[in-house]
């Protein structure tokens, strides 16, 4: 039970002057229940990759097998696959359109042909997960604050009960509190509902705090992959790609250079605090 991406390539606008190879022979295996971080600079192919995961784009070559099924094989299974793989786009609040919060969240389940009772239940559950109180359910989504809008939009995808949740920079443009709230909810869902989560983010700190494994994508290829401790230790490689390591990793590295006997593999603030205290207190 996993996602297996093999030899995936995709080229935009083939045969025109705008031709651009966005993905070049991508090979990834993701196990069920993993929390994956996907990082790469703007235009590296992250968005193209995740759009393949729920068949919004079709590969030129290669395949994606989810739970033993080639998701691009059968057009009749499109809806089933799209409810299995929930994709939350960047700035998802821009897709809100209904008269009320409730109706907007119900859009997905309704499209899947789910009965009214069940839809109601799912919508209420999804809104509860993202922390939208019931008194807001009948309000217009356009009256809400930015953070609330985004949570409603995420609920719109959750209401489809995906087994794999893909989020494209879910915290872009939010204040620190909104960001922490959303990431906290995502972590909670990952643990409680055993969701497989793929998080695309530019914030190394967020990635470091949350994920089990990281894929670094550069010019449409997987440049690095491994657990955060391994990835964030490779400061130089990350910087050549136009990314960076976490601030905690930089602090630890500088301290090491100044002669402090810190262990390698520090990349989170909490980890750094523990290790530095150990050294300081002897």
């Amino acid at each position: 039970m996993s996602i297996k991406i093999s030899n995936l390539s995709h080229t935009y606008s083939k045969g025109t002057t705008f031709e651009k190879k966005a993905l070049d022979d991508i090979n990834i295996t993701i196990e069920r229940g993993e929390f994956i971080g996907l990082i790469g600079h703007t235009g590296s192919g992250k968005s193209t990759l995740i759009q393949h995961l729920n068949v919004l784009l079709r590969p030129d070559t290669g395949s994606i097998i989810i739970d033993g099924e080639d998701i691009h094989a059968d057009k009749g299974r499109l809806k089933a696959i799209r409810s299995k793989v929930g994709l939350v786009f960047q700035y998802p609040e821009h897709q809100l359109f209904e008269m009320t919060v409730f109706k907007d969240v119900a859009f997905g389940p309704a499209n899947m042909g789910i009965a009214e009772d069940e839809t109601r239940q799912r919508v209420e559950d999804a809104l509860a997960i993202v922390g939208i109180p019931p008194e807001l359910h009948e309000k217009s989504p356009f009256e809400l604050s930015g953070g609330q809008k985004r949570r409603v939009a995420i609920a719109g995808v959750l209401a489809m009960k995906p087994e794999i949740l893909v989020l494209d920079e879910p915290t872009a443009g939010l204040d620190p509190r909104g960001r922490d709230e959303i990431l906290g909810r995502i972590k909670e869902m990952h643990e409680k509902l055993k969701l497989t989560v793929i998080l695309v983010s530019h914030s190394m700190e967020d990635i470091a705090r949350l994920v089990d494994r990281i894929f670094v994508i550069n010019h449409g290829k997987i440049a690095l992959f491994g657990p955060p401790a391994e990835i964030f230790a490779q400061t130089q490689q990350l910087e050549t790609i136009g990314l960076s390591s976490t601030q905690a990793a930089y602090v630890a590295k500088h301290l090491q250079e100044k002669g402090f006997k810190l262990p390698d593999g520090i990349y989170t603030v909490d980890g750094a605090v523990t290790e530095i205290l150990k050294v300081v207190r002897g």
Binding site: T16, R82, G86, H94, Q95, F97, G108, N111, M160
Partner: protein, 272 residues
């Protein structure tokens, strides 16, 4: 993704690209007008050759040009159909019941189709080789004489600039929203007319909202940079006619003269 050639600039460095936008606009208008005077096939052949030379000189790939035709394919087919079946004429080729297909009908249909294709291709060359900004500057310039009778030339030009500028942005935005709704199981392709129209609501509402937001932002950004309309406004790029523009005009004039000469001869010789 939607592919719209009209209003899309194709960047290249060619003689046609370097021409003054006003001259290109003038030549395009002349070309289109002349097309309506051509009645014989020699004239069409000449116009086609002329167009082919201009296309080659513009360095725009022909494939790119003709892609724009796809959008109006229906209109071309429809007019051809109308002309073939509903033109009255003496030389009946064959008839099925009340429907007659005449030689005149076929000729008319061929003429109309050629004219339409050349019309679109001709005007596409203008938009493909001229940046929207240059084009609207040219339009503003040509509307200037009408300012005295209250035509808001500058405002019209500015509106066109903004509209053209936002076509690609809106297409991109639409693509994004469409994908986001498809990820939630929206279906834009199947179903009857009413179902299809209904399925557009989740697309159009967000698109309108984002357009208003963009309009707001743009107005603010323009005001912040002291935009106050036409009065006292100078240009970063002054439009100046160069030698090449006069050359282009000369070529155009020769073409027009040839077309009318051919037309005259065709009448005397009795060519279709």
């Amino acid at each position: 993704m939607l592919k719209i050639t009209i209003g899309q600039y194709y960047h290249a460095n060619s003689f046609i690209h370097r021409l003054d936008a006003r001259m290109k606009l003038l030549c395009t208008i002349i070309f289109i007008t002349v097309l309506f005077f051509v009645g014989n096939f020699l004239g069409y052949a000449l116009a086609a050759v002329y167009l082919a030379i201009v296309i080659m000189a513009s360095k725009v790939p022909p494939k790119y040009l003709f892609r724009g035709l796809r959008a109006i394919l229906f209109i071309i087919v429809f007019t051809t159909f109308l002309n073939v079946f509903f033109t009255q004429g003496e030389d009946i080729l064959f008839a099925i019941g009340p429907v007659q297909i005449t030689l005149q009908g076929l000729l008319n249909a061929a003429r109309m189709a050629t004219r339409l294709v050349m019309l679109i291709v001709g005007s596409s060359i203008l938009t493909l080789t001229t940046t929207p900004i240059q084009l609207t500057d040219a339009i503003e310039f040509s509307l200037k004489p009408f300012k005295k009778i209250g035509v808001p030339a500058h405002e019209i030009a500015m509106m066109m600039t903004i509209a053209l500028r936002f076509i690609p942005t809106l297409i991109e935005e639409m693509d994004k929203i469409m994908k986001a709704q498809m990820a939630r199981g929206a279906d834009f392709d199947t179903g009857g007319l009413i179902k299809k129209a209904k399925s557009l609501v989740p697309l159009l509402v967000p698109l309108f909202i984002s357009s208003f937001r963009r309009a707001d932002d743009l107005a603010l950004a323009m005001e912040a940079r002291c935009y106050r309309g036409d009065v006292g406004r100078t240009r970063m790029k002054q439009m100046k006619l160069a030698m090449r523009d006069y050359k282009a005009l000369a070529v155009m004039t020769i073409f027009v003269a040839l077309i009318f000469a051919l037309e005259y001869l065709a009448r005397i010789w009795g060519i279709w």
